[in-house]
């Protein structure tokens, strides 16, 4: 009697393990497919011209996405510059100073903000910045992206700061240094790996956001015109080019997609490297 029970258990065990392995394999396969497909389709068009030339009108051969690459870099930088201090200080406040009720309220708000659909963030930025300014602008896009990035930075900063053990805080205070100096000089360096990881994850996220850019950056046919004017960006251009009937534009859209994938992949690998090196 015990034998048939055991035999059956072994069979179920093996079946379930195989299903789990297949599921794990599927996730890797999907990623490999995406990377492989964009690579194959895009690499032929990803050349120096693509990186260095401005876009040409539809129908004309050649041209590149230089301005859109710049645009993405500018928008990501702008978003980071705004969200880094705000998110970091919010994280410090919740981890070091807030009482339990305020902390819960801030955490809850941050989590909800992180879940707001990015297109809603775009519409919000449109209503609050684009309409009053009577112009689409890189600035409003930067703000929209910052709004998306702030909860990511704030939550990871807060959790990294909480991971710093309390006896280090007390050891620092017992030396007779002020609270904020203890935070900046001892606790933040202890949490730095986690904070940097949070920032990089935020950057990887906003680099690929398209919906908010539709309402704020709009895209530009005249290159980078300054922060208060519309600006192009890679995700916008991919959308525009992919929807067009021009096969040359399709190829360039693939190249742009591949470039964007490389950017996100590169950041993710960097995050792994950084967090592994300082695993104290």
């Amino acid at each position: 009697m015990a034998d048939t029970g055991y035999g059956r258990r072994k069979l179920i065990n093996r079946t379930m393990l195989s299903l789990c392995a297949i599921a794990a394999g599927l996730s890797i396969i999907v990623l490999a497919l995406i990377l492989g497909y964009t690579l194959v389709q895009g690499i032929s068009s990803l050349d120096i011209d693509f990186l260095m030339q401005a876009a040409k009108p539809m129908g004309e051969a050649g041209g590149g996405m230089r301005d859109e690459i710049f645009g993405t870099l500018i928008l990501v930088t702008l978003g980071t510059l705004i969200s880094l201090p705000v998110g970091l200080m919010a994280g410090i406040f919740v981890a070091e100073f807030a009482g339990p009720r305020i902390a819960t309220a801030v955490q809850f708000s941050a989590d909800i903000l992180a879940g707001v659909p990015s297109i809603v963030v775009g519409v919000f930025a449109y209503a609050v910045l684009v309409r009053p300014m009577h112009s689409y602008s890189a600035l409003s896009a930067g703000v929209a992206l910052a709004v998306i990035m702030i909860p990511i930075v704030a939550r990871t900063a807060e959790e990294s700061l909480r991971l710093v053990p309390n006896f280090q805080r007390e050891a620092a205070l017992a030396l007779g240094i002020t609270r904020w100096r203890a935070i900046i000089g001892v606790i933040i360096p202890g949490a730095l790996t986690g904070i940097v990881t949070g920032v990089m994850l935020g950057v990887a996220r906003i680099a690929g956001e398209t919906a908010p850019l539709i309402f704020t950056a709009l895209g530009s046919q005249f290159g980078v015109q300054g922060l208060l004017k519309p600006i192009g960006a890679l995700p916008l251009q991919i959308y525009r080019y992919a929807m067009s009937p021009d096969p040359d534009w399709h190829k360039q859209a693939w190249a742009a997609a591949f470039l964007l994938m490389l950017l996100v992949l590169g950041i993710s690998i960097l995050v792994r490297v950084v967090s592994r090196r300082r695993s104290i």
Binding site: E170, A171, A172, L175, G176, I177, I280
Partner: protein, 280 residues
């Protein structure tokens, strides 16, 4: 916080006519009570800590020894829900007076904790100089180097680490780390050093080294050490205070006197029971 509204326990903190020169490091405790939220931890403690001597606080676990010592340098209020009533007079001035800066008190009364806590992101040199660097007291590198060397020599650690000052503080053994923390506490030149069970996480060899160190330091500093190891108290201290938990589970001071007298001829039966090992 001083609560002078309750007539039963009102104590005049400053004794009129008693002039103590600044910097003597003379500590007197009067009517000290401490709470964690609404739980009273110690009740009505009064004693005078002799200067330039070693005072041991002994007693079974859970009788408020650590709470008491943390009240001496205003670290108890850093704990969650920590509250203090009563007087702690440093050089005749109450450290809990309203206009007293706790940071200044902690510079004059240093503390070493049970778990050796070198700051992990800093080198040995940076660890020892942390108390100075994080208050901008110093101005030049060579001044820092002098102070670091002097503190490490005083902590009997210089010879062991002088060639590796740039290495991380966590690369040392437990006993060395604790001596590093002592050096770090001494670098800010306090008058009084509090040690909360400094050897309980260390092996016997390291413990003996630290006991030797304390005896040498007692020539220049006032030392208060909490220990649950009676033999250590007998070996090291000049005065001893025996704490016990009262019937309502708050800690009270049973007896305070010269160590030799407390151990050979205790005045209170409870002290005698503890010393002879009938409990605790």
């Amino acid at each position: 916080m001083i609560d002078k509204s309750n007539q039963d326990t009102v104590q005049t903190c400053e004794i009129p006519g008693e002039e103590v020169p600044e910097g003597s490091g003379i500590l007197k405790v009067r009517g000290l009570n401490a709470w964690y939220d609404s739980t009273k931890a110690i009740k009505n403690i009064s004693l005078s800590i002799p200067e330039k001597a070693i005072t041991a606080i002994i007693g079974p676990s859970g009788c408020g020894k650590s709470t008491f010592i943390r009240c001496l340098n205003r670290m108890h209020e850093v704990s969650h829900g920590g509250r203090v009533e009563g007087c702690v007079l440093l050089d005749g001035k109450d450290i809990y007076a309203r206009d007293v800066d706790p940071v200044a008190i902690r510079r004059r009364i240093g503390m070493v904790f049970q778990k050796p806590a070198p700051f992990p992101t800093m080198s040995i040199f940076d660890n020892v100089s942390a108390g100075l660097r994080l208050t901008r007291v110093w101005s030049r590198r060579w001044e820092l180097e002098e102070i670091v060397e002097r503190s490490l020599r005083q902590a009997a650690l210089w010879d062991e680490v002088k060639d590796k000052l740039g290495q991380s503080g966590s690369s040392l053994s437990g006993g060395q780390q604790q001596r590093l923390c002592i050096a770090r506490a001494m670098a800010v030149e306090p008058e009084i050093i509090l040690l909360d069970e400094p050897c309980s996480a260390l092996d016997p060899a390291a413990t003996l080294k630290i006991e030797d160190l304390m005896r040498n330091l007692a020539d220049r500093y006032t030392i208060v050490i909490v220990t649950h190891n009676m033999q250590q108290a007998a070996r090291v201290s000049d005065m001893a205070a025996f704490f016990l938990a009262d019937t309502d589970r708050t800690g009270i001071l049973i007896e305070f006197g010269p160590t030799s007298q407390l151990f050979t001829n205790p005045k209170d039966k409870r002290t005698e029971d503890y010393i002879t090992g009938r409990f605790g």
